[in-house]
Subunit: 138 residues, 2 copies
DNA sequence: GTCATATAGTTGTATAGCTAATCAAATGGA
DNA sequence: TCCATTTGATTAGCTATACAACTATATGAC
């Protein structure tokens, strides 16, 4: 019905893809947003919460909630910075560091699988277009 | 950071597009999911809830919640069908019918604006690709 | 005709996202 | 120095989404 609607179709696709990632992160007991947040923390330890929110393209308040969840699972720590008492840098715990390689491997496997399903050219082209379209909306 | 991730970029784009539609539906006091659900009801009055869920590509439980909201606003009615006492057909109220043209006009205006921003060729190509990719995941 | 199974819809419970409001700390102008 | 403004993070309150469990009804095998 909304066959020509970019919002409807983009959102529906995102929900389908979320299901794939839900499976992939299930062994780690992480939802996709949690998994991506943790991957970001592992890739760039020490980021401020606001910087993390920017990386993940979510609102700061959403980052607060997500980090609460990861903190409750013992996967991240908030550390006050030395220069500004309002800021908190985010560091992975050693439990999180122990997951790093497996999490990367599982993520790579999903991407490879999706590339296989869609074809690598289509996959890469689509991602580029999504970014190009998004950048025109800013 | 997740520059090559189809899920991350698709979801981020969907959230950006949602902001555009949020503005467009604000005059009707509808969120984007509510607006799209109402448009579906107006376009195909009498659909069963399960059929509506399929059209919108959401779970049945989500359709229940969304319809609760539209019903509370006096925009739709659930009507028992004659043949099966479990089923409910969804009909727009006359308040909703009164919005039909304006809602369509506002929706068309958003799509035209986005086509202008992205370029019509890119817009249509992207939507087609999103559908093609989604169909390979089913 | 009866009972097991399937189906339509709802409810319970959880996560994720947003905006607006708030709190606390930093900054800067006078 | 002091107060107004800005900024990082949190909290409050809301919507949307999903899955699983449930209720009520329908269907079909016998």
């Amino acid at each position: 019905m909304f066959d020509r609607c970019i919002y409807f179709n983009t959102l529906a696709l995102a929900r389908q893809l979320e299901r794939v990632w839900t499976e992939a992160f299930k062994p780690f007991d992480l939802t996709p947003p949690q998994g991506f947040m943790l991957r970001a923390v592992l890739a760039k330890p020490g980021l401020l919460q606001s910087e993390l929110a920017d990386e993940l393209k979510i609102a700061r308040a959403t980052a607060t909630r997500g980090l609460d969840g990861l903190e409750a699972k013992g996967l991240i720590e908030r550390r006050p910075t030395k220069t500004d008492k309002r800021e908190r840098g985010i560091a992975p715990t050693k439990e999180a560091l122990a997951l790093h390689d497996k999490l990367n491997a599982a993520s790579g496997a999903v991407t490879d699988r999706l590339k296989g399903i869609f074809g690598e050219t289509v996959f890469l082209g689509f991602v580029e277009q999504a970014k190009a379209v998004a950048s025109k909306l800013e």
